[in-house]
Amino acid sequence: MNENPLPSIIPEKDWKKIQRMLSKRSLWMIHFCTGCGAMEMPPTMTSRYDMERFGIIPMATPRQADLLLVTGYVAVKTLKRIVRVYEQMQDPKYVISFGSCPINGGLYWDSYNTIKRLDKYIPVDIYIAGCMPRPEAIMDGFLKLMKDIDEGRADGWLRYRKYYDKYKANQMRVFRRWDE
């Protein structure tokens, strides 16, 4: 995160706490609609389950977003785009993987062209299981993520920095070329 602007006045611990408080109340989300999971987002955003009351709003570009939602199965071709979107986001950033497909392959468990575990390629902070998860489950996942951020446990972006080589090696194992 950003450096402390006034180290002599605000202690480092309090500064971290302030940052966590701010970023938990204002999660801007970019949803990467890969599969059927995107269908559950409109009721979550609109008047039935209204996630804007927690400060979570959809943003248009990865540059502006803090929270990446991967909604559905991840094909190898899609994974490359997901990694690019993830790397364009600004720290601190969080990932929610959504539905059973990014957890263990789900319906596509024996497909030649999908990856089975998203966690091997980018760090995931919260899994929402289900096929598909209902909006209640999504709201529950958001609240859990907010709690994790508050307690400092949502540190996927730190893990991605620390083990960058290993994540990259895993990614390159499924891509034949990076630029196609």
């Binding site: 995160m1 950003n2 302030i18 940052q19 701010l22 970023s23 109340r25 204002s26 801007w28 609109t46 008047s47 209204d50 804007e52 009351r53 927690f54 400060g55 943003m59 248009a60 570009t61 990865p62 540059r63 502006q64 977003a65 803090d66 986001m89 600004q90 720290d91 601190p92």
Partner: protein
């Protein structure tokens, strides 16, 4: 010999006014989200949500590198907005003034938008380019009725100075009572100036990924949020100053500091009403295409503003200039 203490006091008061304007702008954006949510039958975020957003954005790590024009764009926008705010009377008070500042204001108001457009263009993202082009076309569209409105006000009040305009409106009647048609045209132009629906064509998050803002993130976006908060205040204050007497109800010459406080509160109420009208239109309309917006602006508001101009000319010729 310069009276340094006086200068310092004036600088402090101006800084306070500018700071308050930005704070009120952020509050208005939050109120806007809440009101829009209630119209959509949602609960909506708390009204202080935008303060949290700005704090979070300014506390984020930012590693976007394009070139130095891109780096300067948010600063350019924010500084331009603050300069414009210094020229606009907020509740009758301002630091910078001069003769003919109504015309000057037209040019100053374009500075932040152009700086922002330069920075967005420098990011070389095609969405940003499309957004900037749309923003400039929209500007061309709404300037036409808006200039006619300004002309009719200048003819009726025989002045191009905002101070004289405000004092004349305070002593006789608000311009909205004299020129209701021009006020209607100006409110239509205001909707495009604030880029609220149906004229949020340059931003259009679902079409061109928020247009000029597409490459801005982290601290850049935080500065841009402050810029948009300031520009909400600029645009609503411009309408209030032109047509609703700028909220000046008590003469500062006779009532002193009490007049400034009362005027500030009245000004706050008036810009809130203008902002709410824009919000209500924003909440229920879909978006125009850019050529539809252009046709709309050069047709209806321009015709209404032209009728208002004729009315202002007839009134000033037969009844004489406003006292």
């Amino acid at each position: 010999m310069i009276d340094w203490i006086n200068v310092l006091i004036q600088a402090g008061v101006t800084a306070l006014y500018l700071f308050l304007a930005i704070v009120i702008g952020l509050l208005f954006l939050g109120i806007g989200r809440k009101v829009t949510a209630r119209i959509h039958n949602r609960v909506g975020p708390p009204v202080y949500q935008n303060f949290i957003d700005v704090g979070k954005l300014l506390a984020k790590k930012t590693n976007i590198r394009h070139n130095w024009i891109f780096d300067f764009a948010p600063l350019f926008g924010l500084a331009g907005v603050l300069l414009t705010l210094a020229y606009l009377p907020m509740g009758g008070y301002r630091l910078l003034s001069g003769e003919g500042d109504l015309i000057l204001l037209l040019y100053v108001m374009v500075i932040p938008a152009l700086g922002f457009a330069l920075g967005a263009g420098a990011s070389s993202n095609p969405n940003a380019g499309v957004g900037v082009m749309r923003a400039l076309t929209l500007m061309l569209s709404y300037e036409m009725p808006f200039l006619l409105v300004l002309l009719s006000i200048m003819i009726l009040y025989n002045t191009a100075s905002l101070d004289v305009l405000l004092s004349k409106q305070m002593h006789f009647a608000w311009a909205i009572a004299m020129l209701p048609l021009s006020a209607l045209a100006a409110d239509m132009a205001l909707q495009g100036m604030m880029m609220e629906k149906p004229f949020d064509i340059p931003l259009a998050p679902h079409e061109i990924a928020s247009g000029p803002m597409v490459e801005f993130g982290g601290k850049y976006l935080g500065m841009l949020m402050l810029y948009s908060a300031g520009s909400v205040i600029v645009e609503t204050t411009l309408f209030v100053d032109l047509f609703l007497g700028g909220g000046v109800v008590l003469d500062p010459a006779t009532y002193g500091i009490l007049a400034y406080v009362v005027n500030y509160l009245v000004w706050f109420l008036l810009i809130f009403v203008v902002w709410l009208i824009a919000l209500f239109i924003n909440a229920v309309f879909p978006r125009f295409r850019i050529e539809q917006a252009f046709k709309f602006y050069w047709k209806w508001p321009t015709i209404i503003a032209a009728i208002g101009l004729v009315q202002a000319y007839i009134m000033s010729a037969f009844l004489g200039v406003m006292p």
